[in-house]
Amino acid sequence: MKIELKLNCRDLTGDLREGFYDLPEGITANGALEAAFQEAGKTLTESIARSLVFMVNGRAAEEETVLQDGDTLRVLFRILGG
């Protein structure tokens, strides 16, 4: 199935490819991000993973949210300072 990945965390994750990915049915939000890391030959470290926020189609999502064909997954990092 096709998922669109948007990244608002490049300064943390480096140059992962934004855009459409062909991914297996039942993949989770975190699984999709890991696939992007794998394609780029990089590793999703725990400290980066803890700093991320997932959104699917503009709505809040969890790491374990199961994606559907045509979903847009956006990954942001937490910004909590003031």
Binding site: N8, I79, L80, G82
Partner: protein
């Protein structure tokens, strides 16, 4: 508000803000939670633009590490309560604005009482749990929240209506990466928050509702992120 007042102090707000709107702002009440990096700029700018009543809430005192970005922090007021410095500053910037300092941290016990009686709350906090608490109190009191947050070169702003929730943006991930806080980022995000606050008060313009504005000053990029909070 008299015509003399408007033609003096607020002359350069015109025509972006009409005389009628200027008078309207004079009667509005805004509560700013946090008097630090974001809060200092927000408080100063709201006062200069003419919002008549500001309640400024912060339980902290100034520390040396605040000097890089907190507008009201100086080498001479280290150790002093932040809201009291806000009062002193506004007394010489715009003495027509009434400023109520609350030198307390926002808690579950005091939040509703602090927020009651205001038209809008502005988030100038520096951590997730306090933002969750503030948003919950805004829901109970029924007022909108102009939320802002910063980290290094990055910042975010959006307007949260009391019937919506955005907890996922503020839930702390233990051990997450931190980015520091730059003066330019604080000033930029605070300025957008002030614009949104004035727009909420006057019922003008297109608000950052259902949209999260993300500023990336390192890449000089501002992006609108669709936000479905329904």
């Amino acid at each position: 508000m008299t015509g003399r007042m408007i033609m003096g102090r607020y002359e350069r707000n015109m025509p972006a803000i009409s005389p009628e709107e200027q008078a309207e702002l004079a009667g509005k009440r805004v509560v700013i939670i946090g008097c630090g990096g974001l809060g200092g700029y927000i408080i100063e700018l709201l006062a200069r633009i003419g919002v008549g009543h500001l309640t400024v809430v912060d339980g902290d005192v100034f520390a040396e590490s605040n000097l890089n970005r907190q507008l009201f922090s100086t080498e001479e007021n280290l150790g002093q309560p932040k809201p009291l410095s806000a009062v002193r500053r506004l007394s010489i910037v715009n003495s027509e604005v009434s400023v109520r300092p609350i030198c307390e941290k926002l808690t579950e016990q005091n939040a509703e009482q602090i927020l009651t009686g205001h038209d809008v709350a502005v988030d100038a906090l520096d951590n997730g749990p306090s933002r969750l608490l503030l948003a919950a109190a805004c829901r109970k009191v029924g007022i909108p929240l102009v939320s802002g947050s910063i980290g290094g070169w990055y910042g975010r702003v959006f307007v949260l209506e009391p019937e919506h929730r955005a907890d996922f943006l503020w839930e702390d991930g233990n051990g997450q990466i931190t980015f520091g806080n730059l003066s330019c980022t604080a000033a930029c995000v605070a300025s957008v928050q002030v614009a949104e606050t004035v727009k909420v008060l006057l019922g003008r313009g297109r608000l950052l509702k259902s949209r999260l504005l993300e500023l990336n000053l390192l890449q000089a990029r501002w992006e609108e992120i669709p936000l479905d909070l329904s």
